[in-house]
């Protein structure tokens, strides 16, 4: 290491350290975080929406950050801890309880009352942003989960209409499954191993996760156990679900679009994937409400925008939110990602909605049967724990009853901790 080399490095280091000052050019800066995005979304927001907003609000600059879900929680919590939370930010379906409970989202009831456009929203989407009667955000994109099925395969198996009950579902799936030795070439029913699928079955069976007040678990009820038993049976008894060797849900080309499944419960990506990977199949794809046992339910997962209570420009932040929520802007955003705009006026006017008639069926099913998760602060722990319970049942390390009994106990402990702690400030 020569002297010259070292002094050069030192100079570089010094220059770097000293150059880290922020400029202040007198503008008000709003920070916007988006978690659902792709190339097109960034083009839309950076090149169209934000410039339009800034033009309409001279002296305001919007700094948009795109943060993937994998890192959103970390960055969000640490920013709140440091007092540098974003003014407007996007969060997911399970977030409202935790954020309201911890004071990470500003209650918006007053703004909304003045705004008066709440009724335009689909109820299942709107409820995602509500905690104990107060609204904490505006829905930004919705994903209802319906039954997506191959009309041609169903007809070949001798059914003239999609299954309407659990028995019909198992039956149709069995008839449509194609096996080759131990390998399943065509799965009758594509279901990932997921707590969300379980919750769907739970609701179809008339069960609930919690009591009305969210204080106790109802997962040890007979309905809950039956629902899990059915889910497990589809895997291990009827054997109609994908096995290893099938494309993993969410990876590569999805199962249904690669023609390796006859039915699945999926959101609008069921249609999107077919359009992308197997467009010739599109006409044979049917949409229906998932077969219920005691109830028909369409689970709706909505991502939404919240405002930080730490924001120093709340009025402006609200204007940014409502700007993004204007029907055409909302529709444009959802178009880039192929999600359902949560407002009726946006869903009606969106070009991509009109171009895809199947999407309109999603909307009508959402209106009729839509339901969103109950708002509870502990969703992150619950979804992790519930996922473990579901997995242990499907991988047969526990019986469904055992898994749910054990988890229910855990859940009750978790819920009781919260009631104890009580976050009335501290």
């Amino acid at each position: 290491m020569s002297w010259r080399g070292i002094s050069l490095l030192a100079l570089l280091a010094a220059a770097a350290l000293l150059s880290g000052c922020a400029h202040r050019d007198g503008k008000i800066e709003l920070e916007l975080w988006i978690a659902d995005f792709n190339q097109d979304t960034r083009g839309l927001i950076d090149d169209e929406l934000v410039p339009r907003f800034e033009a309409a609000h001279p002296g305001v600059k919007v700094n948009t950050q795109y943060i993937s879900w994998a890192h959103l929680d970390e960055k969000l919590t640490i920013s709140f801890a440091g007092g540098v939370a974003p003014d407007v930010f996007q969060v997911g379906a399970e977030y409202v309880g935790g954020m309201a409970y911890r004071g990470m989202a500003e209650p918006l009831d007053d703004y909304i009352a003045q705004w008066g456009q709440a009724d335009d929203y689909f109820p299942a989407s709107w409820n995602t942003c509500m905690y104990r009667g107060t609204v904490y955000g505006l829905p930004y994109l919705s994903a209802p989960r319906v039954l997506v099925y191959r009309k041609d395969l169903l007809r070949q198996a001798g059914c003239d209409r999609p299954p309407q009950s659990w028995e019909e579902l198992a039956d149709a799936a069995e008839r449509m499954t194609v096996r080759r030795g131990p390998v399943i070439d065509l799965a009758g029913m594509n279901l990932p191993v997921s707590w969300q699928v379980y919750v769907q079955f739970l609701w179809e069976n008339g069960g609930q996760i919690f009591t009305e007040d969210g204080a106790r678990s109802l997962l040890d009820s007979p309905e809950a156990v039956e629902a899990l038993q059915f889910y497990v049976d589809l895997y291990n008894k009827y054997e109609v679900c994908p096995t290893a060797g099938m494309p993993v849900a969410g990876g590569a080309i999805p199962v249904f679009a690669s023609k390796r499944a006859a039915m699945e419960i999926n959101n609008q990506f069921g249609v999107y994937n077919v359009k992308k990977y197997a467009p010739e199949m599109l006409d044979d794809v049917g949409i229906a409400v998932p077969p219920g046992r005691k109830e028909k339910v369409v689970s709706v997962y909505t991502d939404w925008l919240a405002m930080s209570p730490q924001s120093r420009h709340k009025e402006l932040a609200w204007e940014l939110m409502t700007f993004l929520m204007e029907p055409e802007n909302l529709a444009a955003y959802n178009a880039t990602l192929f999600f359902i705009p949560p407002r009726r006026s946006a869903a009606d006017t969106a070009r991509f909605m009109q171009d895809n008639p199947q999407l309109q069926e999603f909307v009508s099913l959402m209106e009729e049967y839509g339901r969103s998760l109950p708002a509870i602060p502990e969703w992150f722990e619950i979804r992790t724990g519930l996922q473990s319970a579901v997995e242990s049942a499907i991988y047969q390390t526990k019986t469904p009853e055992q898994a749910l009994r054990d988890y229910s106990r855990e859940l009750n402990e978790l819920l009781s901790e919260r009631v104890e702690a009580g976050y009335a400030g501290g």
Partner: protein
């Protein structure tokens, strides 16, 4: 001492087979980066693409401000490497060769901090940087602005000295024969002189190691720059890669192209630093 021809061939064979296994995932990455998206998911998998889609590279680089990210990452990696090399070697020398009260407990303390996962110290460090007084709009008490967030200083300082470098260099310094130092001391050389003129030149392999590792780690670091920087103009390359990955899709071809591009500088540094793995020249003067 060159081994015989037969032995040489055997060694080459072993190393080549092993080497191929090592780089197979990269060949995969490279091949994916050259494929158009439609060709990526095929069964049976295709290693050599039919058409070489160099446009992927151009598109990948245009997808975000990678030029800017590159500058940020270079500044960060070089600064962290320089500070680590300098301060860690000084501290390691003190731990390895100088006698002072509390030497061992202090070293164990330094070592001990390596055993704490960084996830639990991130929040205190973040708050510390944010509340740094008299910078970034903060007053004396560290309130009002954003402190050292969004700055190179904030990015570099917490990583400027790592226990790893101190540990490695201390172990290495301890293997050096003390005769040279004793002779130098008798000649009236100061400790600093011994450090600079004797220890450091003899430690080229170890210093090269620390340098390469630190540079690589800093270059590849993701979480820390992600948390500290909220302006696009301050992001580093790894954070920039995020644009190719969304919740529902990954643009594999562009992501792989960008990753290949990002790997090149570190590889270059490694190939450059490899030279220092050859024997320290002074050792040959040790006979007798």
């Amino acid at each position: 001492m060159r081994p015989g021809l037969a032995k040489q061939s055997l060694l080459h064979l072993l190393l080549a087979v092993g080497g191929l296994t090592m780089i197979l995932p990269f060949l995969w990455m490279l091949s994916t980066s050259l494929k158009p998206e439609s060709e990526i998911f095929r069964f049976p998998p295709v290693l050599v693409p039919n058409t070489w889609d160099w446009a992927n590279y151009v598109e990948a680089m245009k997808a975000a401000a990678f030029g800017r990210y590159f500058i940020n990452t270079i500044i960060y990696a070089v600064a962290v490497t320089a500070t680590n090399l300098l301060f860690c070697s000084m501290a390691a020398y003190a731990f390895a060769r100088l006698r002072f009260r509390g030497r061992n407990p202090l070293f164990i303390l330094v070592l001990g901090t390596m055993m704490i996962p960084p996830q639990v110290t991130m929040v205190p460090v973040f708050i510390m940087l944010k509340r740094w007084p008299l910078v970034g709009g903060n007053d004396l008490l560290g309130v009002g602005g954003h402190g050292l967030l969004n700055s190179y200083t904030g990015l570099v300082l917490p990583m400027a000295v790592g226990a790893f470098g101190i540990f490695l260099l201390r172990q290495f310094f301890m293997t050096l024969p003390s005769e040279l130092e004793d002779a130098a001391r008798i000649d009236g050389c100061s400790e600093a002189g011994i450090y600079w003129r004797i220890i450091l030149p003899l430690s080229k392999p170890a210093l090269a190691t620390v340098g390469i590792f630190t540079f690589t780690a800093a270059w590849n670091q993701f979480i820390w720059p992600l948390l500290i920087m909220s302006k696009d103009s301050m992001k580093t390359l790894q954070v920039g890669l995020q644009v190719f990955q969304t919740q529902y899709t990954t643009t594999w071809d562009l992501l792989m192209a960008a990753t290949v591009v990002l790997t090149v500088p570190v590889l270059v540094i490694f190939m450059f630093g490899q030279r220092y793995f050859t024997r320290g020249i002074a050792l040959s003067g040790m006979k007798g």
